[in-house]
């Protein structure tokens, strides 16, 4: 019986993810080879056509470069922030954590609108830069798209990094300094490798976001920047399903390739020399670069300058993370029908309109209900699976964990199309249930991630002690385990809720009139015609989420369980 337990607990969630992520993938695969669809004779011709066309290749390169740049820039700006948060305590930590997660809490379309108003030629940024004689429009440039993607990547990079940094042994860099290494040398050679797992997790997440994003390139790209997801969607709207499927598969392959490469690099960083080279090569390998680094040791440590730079960094970072949100809040109460960066006067008209029946109330309630039910189901599924994963060592355990994370790796656009085609084949009834199924699938990776780490952090002996006191397994779970993982469960639910509540790319293709979710309606409305009412509903949500999250963070320490979730358990 003991041996069967993991299978029974992990089975259900595996089936759901399997059907929900692998199903669409297989459908895409079949389309791309023309086995499904309207192509005369099945084969690889679509792939040869795409790969043989320099335009497609160029677009792949652009997408790849964009995503890699986003990933690297996110890491670079997130590392100091993560260190800063790791060092802070109490309210400072709460506020910094909330600051960092805020970009996750705001609807993607509205966030993009905020950025458009910040970055446009007569926008907020230029109004600040003009006095010093610089003026730069990022709209319609890859840089602009990258900037906005970095904005939403930062939280997803900071959280896993925090986990690594919180577990960092400061003695490792101290030892290096005592041996004569300049703090900068010690950081690069010892701190970075030690946080490599966190860097990897962050890099992967931001890369996947960068390469799969659909909405941001449309908004910020202003119709002049083509990336693969846009191309895929364009193929579909011109009824070239098979080509869309082949592009999706190539994109997926690219993501898997890059993620594997990132994993390698991070392992190299963390592990140093390969087994072979250390057994065979010279005892000490030549290190021309670090020999040069040793020269740094005579430089001053610039302590004063560092403190100053760190303050400036914090201010700039705060502005970067908050600015689009501030603009949205402004738009929500500004007396202008057309959202702009300038101020016209105060009004509550939009706020009132937003919560009216014919505003967003219906969709808000639907999204709320959907998110609650999806999180409820996701919780039941992932709670059981996470507990089993944390408590049992069984063959294929790592594979199961990786598998449950797989919906995260699939580019949004590909996953969305896959879902639709998949439902088409299943011929299921269009309904709330379809939407629910998709939402459960996309929330599970986040929830499982948080919960597995939470359970792993709970000493299994607490459960043993309860068994020794005479408690039956279910009693142990109810009276001991659950209360102990409360904050982890809470965090998982919060993450799952936000994931579902903000999901648009898939829902828009599933939604019907009475199953239009809030983000879908916002996306439809705002992409057709940006309006202050859309900003108003978002403003209401920002305020509501902050009002809920700040006290809960104080009480339960969401940040720490979120941090756990980012932990790389290799």
């Amino acid at each position: 019986m003991r041996r069967l337990a993991p299978a029974g607990l992990i089975g259900p969630v595996t089936v759901v993810v399997g059907v929900g992520a692998i199903g669409p993938l297989i459908v895409l695969l079949l389309y791309s080879f023309g086995i499904l669809g309207n192509i005369e004779d099945p084969g690889t011709q679509l792939y040869t056509e795409i790969l043989g066309d320099s335009y497609f290749r160029g677009t792949f390169v652009r997408s790849l470069r964009l995503a890699l740049t986003v990933s690297i820039v996110s890491l670079v700006v997130a590392v100091p922030l993560a260190f800063r948060i790791s060092r802070s305590r109490g309210w400072a930590r709460t506020l910094l954590t909330c600051l960092v997660v805020l970009p996750l809490l705001i609807n993607i379309v509205v966030r993009n609108l905020g950025w458009v108003l910040v970055l446009s030629p007569n926008g907020v940024l230029n109004s600040w830069l003009e006095p010093i004689g610089v003026s730069q429009s990022f709209l319609g440039t890859v840089t602009g798209i990258g900037l906005v993607l970095v904005h939403v990547s930062v939280p997803l990079v900071v959280l896993p990094l925090l986990a690594s940094i919180d577990r960092l042994d400061p003695a490792q860099s101290e030892a290096a300094r005592a041996l004569g290494a300049h703090p900068a040398v010690a950081f690069v050679r010892f701190t970075l490798p030690a946080i490599a797992p966190g860097l990897l997790a962050g890099a992967v997440l931001s890369f996947v976001i960068g390469i799969g994003s659909l909405v941001t390139p449309i908004f910020l790209g202003q119709g002049r920047t083509m990336v693969i997801p846009t191309l895929i969607v364009q193929q579909i709207s011109t009824f070239r399903w098979e080509r869309a499927a082949a592009l999706s598969m190539l994109l997926f392959a690219l993501v898997v390739g890059v993620v594997v490469a990132m994993q390698r690099i991070s392992q190299r960083m963390a592990r140093g020399r390969t087994e072979r080279s250390r057994r065979r090569g010279p005892i000490l390998r030549p290190r021309p670069l670090t020999d040069a680094a040793a020269r740094l040791n005579h430089l001053p440590t610039f302590d004063g300058l560092r403190r100053w730079v760190s303050r400036v960094y914090l201010v700039v970072m705060t502005a970067f993370l908050l600015l689009p949100m501030v603009v949205v809040l402004k738009t929500a109460v500004d007396d202008s029908q057309i959202p702009t960066a300038s101020w016209h006067g105060f009004t509550t008209e939009w706020l009132q309109a937003a919560i009216r029946e014919d505003g967003y109330r219906t969709q808000l309630l639907l999204s709320f209900r959907l998110a609650i039910v999806a999180v409820g189901l996701g919780l039941v599924l992932s709670l059981a699976a996470s507990w089993a994963i944390a408590r049992y060592r069984f063959p294929g355990r790592d594979a199961v964990v990786a598998f449950l994370m797989s919906p995260l790796l699939m580019p949004q656009a590909a996953l969305a199309v896959g879902f639709v085609l998949f439902f088409l084949i299943l011929q299921t009834d269009p309904s709330f249930e379809r939407l629910l199924f998709a939402h459960v699938v996309v929330t599970i990776p986040y929830m499982t991630r948080v919960l597995v780490s939470t359970f792993e952090n709970i000493d299994a002996r607490m459960e043993e002690a309860a068994a020794a006191c005479g408690a039956r397994p279910l009693t142990v779970f109810r009276k001991i385990t659950l209360p102990l993982v409360r904050s982890g469960v809470f965090t998982a639910c919060l993450f799952g809720f936000l994931q579902s509540f903000d999901e648009a790319a898939i829902s828009v293709l599933i939604a019907s009139g009475d199953t239009t979710t809030l983000p879908v309606k916002l996306m439809s409305d705002m992409s057709f015609q940006p309006s202050p009412v859309g900003a108003a509903i978002s403003a209401i949500l920002i305020v509501a989420v902050v009002a809920v999250v700040v006290p809960l963070e104080r009480r339960f320490g969401i940040s720490s369980s979120a941090v756990l979730a980012g932990r790389d358990d290799d």
Partner: protein, 381 residues
């Protein structure tokens, strides 16, 4: 010139000149306005019974084609955002008569097409509004039903609105919107869209977008091309793309940039421009001297729906006076029906038959995928 300084100009089509065929048809309503009884009689003589003096089928007649025993609770109408608010009220009478609610599914055009195609055979959408250029591909890919010529009010449709791939829903005309603060002289040519004077302040529709096709067609003709090959125009845009501040998916999406003074001039639908002015957008609208192409919002019916009879009943209502009037009042769009009576004192586009330019939508949409591929390479990069 057909440019109006006042948004709320004289009612459309006071002219009787018959320069083009569509013009003939657009002018017809006026004739009918003046001769209402006569038209009613004429309608009466056709096979379809006519319930009122307007020449349109009465609501009872329409409701009779969607009897209660087959009537669904609701029909899903997929269209652009904001339409529920604008034309939704004109569906209330239909709901009252049939008990069928009209549910709006607002979405982006691309999402609408993707969804329809993906659900092909078991649609969740009963009727969708798409630009004229998208109707034929949907039909040819088996996504939508062929139009049913026997429905009520079909007879009265203008010829352009009678298509195999769907039913015309409203007529629109493209022209140029501009901000008079920066564009001090009224643009007179489509070529002004690419003027150096407005460099960095021009917005252009992206592809695929019917406004994009329409504008490309005009530029293409000026370059000496024909509608079956838009290469010259696409290349022209490519050469001038540095001057263009933004390529927009829908003209309302460019409003914040217009309001911020970043965009000065862009192609727009006449009615959409007037509606935009109503929202306080600081623009004027003009039809250039070359004239403005007309297009059409098209009603298409996804194939395989269980609700077909009631959907058709709804379309009959849609192409009748009440709905057409709502389009005209809220969006200044022209009617597809020869029986339509333009309400007193309202400007709708096209309002001057002399400005109407017909473009070959069928060919352009057939060539759509190739044009888009070319556009991607030459303009988007």
């Amino acid at each position: 010139g057909g440019d109006d300084d006042e948004p709320a100009a004289e009612p459309a089509a006071e002219s009787d000149t018959e320069t083009t065929e569509p013009e003939t048809e657009t002018t017809e309503p006026e004739t009918e306005t003046t001769d209402a009884t006569e038209t009613t009689d004429a309608a009466d003589t056709t096979e379809a019974p006519s319930g009122d003096a307007s020449g349109f089928a009465s609501m009872e007649e329409i409701a009779a084609t969607c009897p209660a025993d087959i009537a669904p609770d609701k029909l899903v109408l997929s269209t652009w955002a904001s339409q529920e608010e604008l034309i939704g009220p004109s569906f209330d009478s239909f709901t009252e008569a049939t008990g069928v609610e009209i549910e709006f599914l607002a979405n982006d055009l691309g999402d609408r097409l993707t969804k329809m195609a993906a659900e092909s055979g078991s649609p969740t959408i009963d009727v969708a509004i798409v630009p004229i250029n998208e109707a034929a591909p949907l039909f040819e890919n088996g996504v939508t039903e062929a139009a049913d010529e026997t429905i009520l009010n079909y007879e009265q449709l203008l010829d352009v609105a009678k298509m195999e791939a769907g039913y015309g829903g409203s007529i629109i005309q493209f022209g140029i919107a501009y901000n008079p603060e920066f564009v001090t002289e009224v643009p007179t040519s489509w070529a002004d869209l690419l003027s150096d004077d407005f460099a960095d302040h021009i917005a252009f529709p992206t592809m695929p977008n019917s406004g994009g096709y329409a504008t490309l067609a005009m530029l293409n003709r000026m370059e000496g091309g024909t509608d079956d090959d838009l290469t010259a125009a696409v290349e022209l845009i490519g050469e001038n793309s540095d001057k263009i501040a933004t390529f927009y998916p829908n003209s309302p999406a460019v409003e914040p940039q217009v309001a911020a003074g970043e965009v000065w001039i862009y192609p727009d639908i006449g009615g959409a421009a007037l509606a935009s002015m109503d929202r306080g957008n600081p623009i004027e609208f003009t039809i250039p001297e070359e004239g403005g192409p007309v297009g059409m919002n098209t009603l298409v019916v996804p194939a395989g729906s269980d609700h077909l009879p009631c959907t058709l009943a709804f379309i009959s209502h849609f192409i009748g006076q009440e709905v057409q009037e709502a389009w005209a009042e809220k969006l200044y769009y022209g009617s597809v029906s020869s029986n339509f009576v333009v309400p007193e004192g309202l400007t709708v586009y096209p309002n001057d038959p002399s400005t109407i330019v017909e473009v070959d939508w069928a060919t352009m949409s057939a060539n759509g995928p190739d044009t888009i591929d070319l556009w991607n390479r030459v303009v988007v990069g």
